[in-house]
Subunit: 337 residues, 2 copies
């Protein structure tokens, strides 16, 4: 009588999405609440608990949850804590795994959203059967989840895999939200593409459909739509973006020699428009021994389900929480009871 | 009656050094032969076998060898093969693990020299007790061995950890032996330091002790000696080198969040002259969450013993070799009998 379901919870800056998932990755039911409704983390967890219990009751799943997996910004797998410096409405650090596990009476594991996406992809998506791959999430920022030898890479402190903050322009790089300059995500996130559009439009003389949009309002979606309409400048913006990504991917390859790099998130939906320059630049910059070996793939998870699926996959490995141990001593977030 | 010793063999471009090592890392005996004496790999292995048997007999160790570990350029742990593109006098690929294992009747495992150094450091040196660290070897080139969660990172094809070939100068970078330009090792190897010296001496007007040496003959050792004699230009060459290394180390950290980066090889003997600018540049370029967390250490292995010790540590995990399997299928170099 092992329990057949897990709960996946994805805490985003705007919405918190949650769902019941079975062992084959089918989302049995899902729902959401507003992340920012409560200034107090206890009230937020109370509402989350009420809504989830309601969903469990409606699906005859109350005693059938093996574990809870949560994906959230800056969530540390080792400590179960959401650390400082994150765009959420509650004071940090937040001992989230402990709070949720206490409230629900169910084991809970947490990790950051990009790691959750990687675990979801490995469990249910394009990375099934792969032991060495890198997940790159191209959203408002650039996140990453790295899997080596079948294991998620957490590093000695739980924060490994911040590839959006590799510095790709050492001189005169764009200012990044992290306080440094030249980070990959300032060029290759959705926001980065919009920045490139503004830069190109200011500096270059060509006509472009993008000139019909007030320059400060241009989004990566506008650039995408212009590019598929045949707009030359918009297409060059994607070439510029893909080239920087491909150059970075060649550098990532000498580190962990992945079998595939998998793209996820809004910008990944640009498909070949982005994949083509990525593959060209990656191969052009690739160390000989790796040439032609590394696949660049798109996520196979439906975006609507992906966040919940990724988080839920972590629920299978959640352990009962007794006490928090320091990360350097034991690479798990709990001592087993 | 488990066997108390391992054999470590380090195949360098000039010398092949080998030794008998016990479980505590004591080198019982060691010797060497010339790598380039034979144009035929079979003759080379015959001589190696003769010399090693002689050493084993002299030390009453003939039936006491648990396994053989070999460190060699481009040696692939998964396949047991020395792959193409390497500065050795025999045609490649060379099925080295199979040849040595057949000749000696003892299980043999091979890996590249930087990985061997990392395994040695983890088993006997500065990385004892560390589960997440990066070994950087600063010799003629720049090599690396990456350990994550206590495991050597081999990647999906056995070639991971080529950090000397991360591109640190995207524009107008120095030509690298790998055929690309701007690789870390063109700046930060011993050879790279000599190149920097030549560049500085040509471009800059200052006086320097280095001007007493014919410019094409300057070595990193000359630069070191001038620097400790107080030569300003030579000191700036070390600052330049250390700064590029420190910037690269900050990027490596966002990948795997290591507890330490450990330096090994000739250039590492420069000590604080190199460590100081490395640490300064690393912290200056470090993503906030990692600031102050990553130690930069020097290898604790004696250089004379290190190559043999590193290779020998691999001997403990060598398995009897039956047949070679493709790397993508099984992440071990052998099917166990």
């Amino acid at each position: 009588m092992s329990k057949p379901y897990v709960l996946g919870i994805d805490i985003g800056g705007t919405n918190t999405v949650f769902g019941i998932v079975d062992a084959r990755g089918a989302v049995i039911a899902s729902s959401s609440i507003k992340t920012r409704k409560h200034n107090n983390i206890t009230d937020y967890i109370d509402e989350l608990h009420t809504e989830i219990i309601r969903m469990l009751e409606q699906n005859d799943a109350v005693d059938k949850i093996h574990g809870i997996g949560i994906g959230a910004p800056n969530a540390n797998y080792f400590t179960g804590i959401i650390e400082d410096g994150v765009n959420l409405p509650w004071p940090t650090p937040i001992p989230l795994a402990q709070l949720v596990s206490d409230k629900f009476g169910i084991p809970c594991a947490i990790t950051n959203d990009a790691n959750a996406a990687a675990i979801g992809e490995m469990t249910y998506g394009a990375a099934r059967g792969l032991k060495d791959f890198i997940m790159i999430t191209l959203g408002t920022g650039v996140g990453s989840g790295i899997v080596i030898n079948g294991q998620m890479v957490y590093g000695h402190d739980g924060f490994a895999g911040e590839l959006g903050h590799v510095i790709v322009k050492r001189n005169n790089g764009r200012l990044c939200g992290c306080g440094r300059a030249g980070c990959l995500e300032t060029y290759c996130s959705a926001t980065g593409v919009a920045r490139t559009a503004r830069e190109f439009l200011e500096i270059r003389p060509e006509d472009s459909l993008l000139r019909n949009i007030p320059i400060e309002e241009i989004t990566s979606k506008d650039v995408y739509e212009a590019a598929i309409s045949g707009d030359k400048l918009a297409q060059e913006i994607f070439e510029y973006t893909g080239t920087i990504l491909g150059e970075a991917f060649a550098d990532f390859t000498v580190f962990s020699s992945p079998e595939a790099i998998i793209l996820f998130g809004g910008l990944a939906k640009s498909g070949e428009l982005l994949l083509k320059p990525i593959r060209t630049a990656m191969e052009k910059n690739m160390l000989g021994v790796f040439k032609g070996k590394v696949k660049v793939l798109l996520s196979e998870l439906k975006e609507a389900d992906a966040a919940v699926l990724g988080a839920s996959a972590l629920g299978w490995e959640a352990k009962p929480m007794v006490t928090i141990v320091p990360p350097a001593v034991t690479p798990g977030n709990t001592i087993q009871a």
